[in-house]
């Protein structure tokens, strides 16, 4: 029987080079740890394995930056790319659709930017991991971090539900395992099991919802789903109860992944129990990737179901997301007020931040600015991720020197390490959202998007949501300031205070501070970049010849690409 496969373009593998490199490097790290470093003493082994991992991250980062360069050249200066790479590669890289592997993955500027972001953050997390000894299975631990990142990068790039699902699972399964790696502490095992159970239940719910979306639309491609939904009736939830159930189930799935109230139960326990670097990676990498793909699914694929009836509480997911956002930020902030444990406080604060970001998601779906509105969310994610990586490096510091993570352990830090204390102040201020740090502009951008939108039915409620967000920012100041109070107003304990931070702790804090400050003082380059990548990210359309020839004759008319989410479907007036 003849093989009837579609011809595949092997150059596609070049465009996922960072992911390929990283997954191979994971094996290298495991093998090297087993074969070479096992017999060394714990300290030097940790440093050696960590360094090896960092080399891999560096290689992947280099490839990601190179791809970024190529892709930006392809957009800005195509002839130069021609000269650099030769005709065929140049034309391959400047293909307009930006989809690879038959449309299952996105590539191009958005993916490159996100890959660079993930890899930078991963570098910081890996570096933090070398700060203190929490596990003996170093090779496996670092490999899992790398593989989780592969999952994140492909998750953020996925344009199709099967790829999305498997990438999501790769990411979370690696993180379940990594959070149980601190074998000397029972709470780490507990964190792993809790994360696992909540996570796999949520992915089962998500999958069930996903199966209905597939059933309703007959396809798994985001773009095609969006087109089918846009073409169909505009009833949204009301007209199609099972569609509503699917939306809710998918929302539950994403809600678990980004720790939105009421699906946040796992987050505090897991953040507290897992080793600090793993918590950092759960709080930043996994959250960024989940939010990016949530933007894609909800704005690109399910965009037509956002609020088809033009009323906030009418059929559509917008109302649900608004309620989720309000509950999430309020609950997160109020619960964080009661915390004495630093990591737990960060957990609740990250829940609260998920609430702000959800405001952005809701706003982007109705914004008049079109897909660019999602740029605000992306900007917020970047800033949030850096600030949190820095904050969790502090947690690693606490775990190294105090073997605990109470906020009180930070007492008097301003005296012993004044420079780093200033950096922590900057991070906390940015998390609160105080100008001139980047957190402020992130919040500003999101709230501006929420206010700047057309349909009158949603305007009032979103304005209220913004007001609630502002109130919440004020509330959040109280618990972040508690950290500052401990550092500046309390005396250091006479014995057993925090030692001097080694580079593994200092570098992430400093880098995070620099990023947060720089993006705060000059917010526009990053903001412009994010706005620029938001559009291709959320409108990626297959222009592939194969898809068109596959099309049924009758469907030829609908195969034309057309922006989905932001053309408000013609309503029966």
């Amino acid at each position: 029987m003849p093989v009837n496969a579609l011809p595949m373009d092997l150059r596609d593998f070049l465009r996922v080079a960072p992911a390929v490199l990283l997954s191979a490097w994971g094996l290298v790290v495991v093998a090297a740890d087993l074969a070479r470093y096992r017999r060394r003493d714990a300290e030097s082994r940790r440093l050696a394995v960590g360094r090896l991992t960092l080399i891999g991250v560096g290689l992947a980062l280099a490839s990601a930056v190179a791809l970024f360069g190529i892709d930006s050249l392809a957009q800005s200066d195509a002839p130069r790319l021609d000269r650099l790479l030769g005709e065929s590669f140049a034309s391959y890289f400047s293909r307009p659709d930006g989809l690879i592997f038959f449309g299952t993955l996105a590539s191009g500027l958005p993916t490159d930017v996100l890959n660079v972001l993930f890899l930078t953050l991963l570098g910081l997390v890996v570096w933090t991991s070398t700060a203190y000894a929490f596990t003996d299975d170093l090779g496996e631990y670092f490999a899992l971090l790398l593989w989780a990142t592969v999952g994140m990068m492909l998750l953020a790039a996925s344009e199709e539900l099967a790829t999305l699902f498997i990438a999501l699972e790769t990411m979370t399964i690696c993180l379940y395992l990594a959070s149980a790696f601190e074998k000397s502490k029972p709470r780490s095992a507990e964190a792993g099991l809790k994360y696992f159970i909540y996570g796999s239940v949520s992915s089962a719910l998500f999958l069930y919802g996903l199966s209905f979306v597939y059933g309703l639309t007959g396809t798994t491609y985001f773009d095609a789903i969006g087109r089918v939904l846009g073409r169909g009736g505009h009833e949204g939830l009301a007209g199609n109860l099972v569609g509503g159930a699917a939306l809710l189930l998918m929302l539950v799935g994403f809600g678990f992944k980004v720790a939105a109230v009421p699906f946040h139960m796992w987050a505090p326990d897991v953040y507290e129990g897992a080793p600090a670097p793993v918590s950092a990676w759960i709080a930043t990498g996994s959250k960024v990737a989940s939010f990016v793909v949530m933007l894609k699914v909800f704005l690109h694929a399910l965009g037509p179901w956002s609020n088809p009836s033009n009323e906030l509480m009418g059929p559509g997911w917008l109302g649900v997301v608004v309620v989720l956002a309000a509950a999430t930020m309020t609950y997160g902030n109020l619960a964080a007020l009661a915390q004495r444990n630093y990591k737990r406080m960060l957990a609740y604060s990250s829940i609260a931040h998920a609430g702000y970001i959800l405001v952005g998601v809701a706003a982007a779906s109705v914004s008049t600015a079109g897909p660019e509105a999602a740029g605000a969310v992306l900007y917020y994610l970047v800033v949030y991720a850096f600030a949190n990586v820095g904050a969790f490096a502090v947690a690693a510091w606490l775990a190294r020197d105090r073997d605990g993570d109470a906020i009180a352990d930070l007492d008097g830090l301003a005296r012993t390490s004044p420079a780093l204390a200033v950096c922590i102040v900057v991070l906390m201020l940015s998390l609160i959202g105080v100008p001139p740090f980047a957190g402020f502009f992130g919040k500003l951008a999101i709230f501006m998007e929420a206010l700047r939108q057309g349909p009158s039915g949603t305007r009032i409620v979103l304005a209220w949501l913004v007001a609630l967000g502002l109130f919440n920012s004020v509330v959040s100041a109280f618990y972040y300031v508690r950290v500052l109070k401990a550092m500046y107003l309390r005396e250091a304990p006479s014995v057993g205070g925090l030692q001097r931070a080694k580079s593994a702790i200092a570098v992430p804090i400093v880098v995070a501070t620099v990023v947060v400050t720089a993006c705060g003082i000059v917010p526009s380059p990053l903001m412009d970049l994010m706005r620029a990548i938001a559009r291709p990210m959320l409108t990626a359309t297959t222009l592939d010849a194969t898809a068109v020839t596959d099309a049924t004759p009758a469907a030829g008319a609908t195969a034309r690409p057309r922006p989905v989410a932001w053309t408000t479907p013609s309503r029966p007036e």
Binding site: S23, V30, D137, A162, C174, L177, F181, N240, L241, T549
Partner: protein, 219 residues
């Protein structure tokens, strides 16, 4: 017509058995019995796959779920000496009724939704006499009909083609996922000879009869 009735009766029998098995999994106190019921459920699902003309998938289902997952679960049950029907393995008493009611409500809502669903892609509603698209070759059939006929007739091959072209990245990721799960699970479950000695023996006292061999009936 007779054929159709037989198919429907067969479906109903399989579905009923599958649901009973699922209920058994959820309700039985003894974990080994629960696992056995789970095997029955997996098998019924495999039979449903066969009825959906996806026999390759059915074989894979039997292979992975019964041949690997069930065995793994059994090992987990044995290694945690957890076969006894103590209250930790049973449903929590006061929550039993509300839980069942919640489940019924969910089922009712889903059935209502499925009954009223109208697929935006195809014109047909899901409920009622939805005939499956024919696999008989016809003149002027759409391209997808030919594709599907080929997929049904030689699913193993088409799955392979799809995995190596369209879903190449998903396929690679699945491999990575399995590697990661293997590496991580081994690292976690591996008992360090040194570490085990330092641990406190137990958090709470072992039940008095736990020195018995692990195989224990629920009688």
């Amino acid at each position: 017509m007779g054929e159709v009735v037989v198919a429907r009766i067969l479906f109903l029998a399989i579905a009923a058995l599958g649901l009973l098995a699922a209920l058994g999994t959820v309700l039985s106190r003894n974990l080994v019995h629960a696992a056995l019921h789970l095997v029955g459920f997996f098998f019924c699902v495999a039979c449903l796959f066969v009825m959906l003309e996806a026999e390759f998938l059915a074989a894979v289902q039997v292979l992975i779920y019964i041949g690997a997952v069930a065995i793994l679960l059994m090992f987990g049950i044995m290694l945690t000496r957890n076969t006894r029907g103590d209250d930790a393995t049973s449903l929590s008493g006061p929550w039993r009724l509300p839980g069942l009611v919640a489940g019924l409500c969910l089922f009712g809502a889903l059935v209502f939704g499925i009954n009223n669903a109208v697929s935006p892609s195809g014109a047909s509603p899901w409920a009622g006499e939805a005939a499956r698209p024919s696999l008989v070759e016809r003149e002027g059939e759409p391209a997808w009909a030919a594709e599907r006929r080929r997929a049904v007739e030689d699913m193993g091959r088409v799955v392979g083609e799809e995995f190596l072209t369209r879903y190449a990245m998903a396929f690679e990721l699945a491999g990575l996922l399995l590697t990661a799960a293997l590496v991580g699970a081994v690292a976690l479950a591996h008992r360090d000879e040194v570490g085990a000695a330092e641990l406190p023996p137990t958090v709470e006292a072992l039940p008095a009869d736990s020195a018995e061999p692990v195989g224990t009936a629920a009688s």
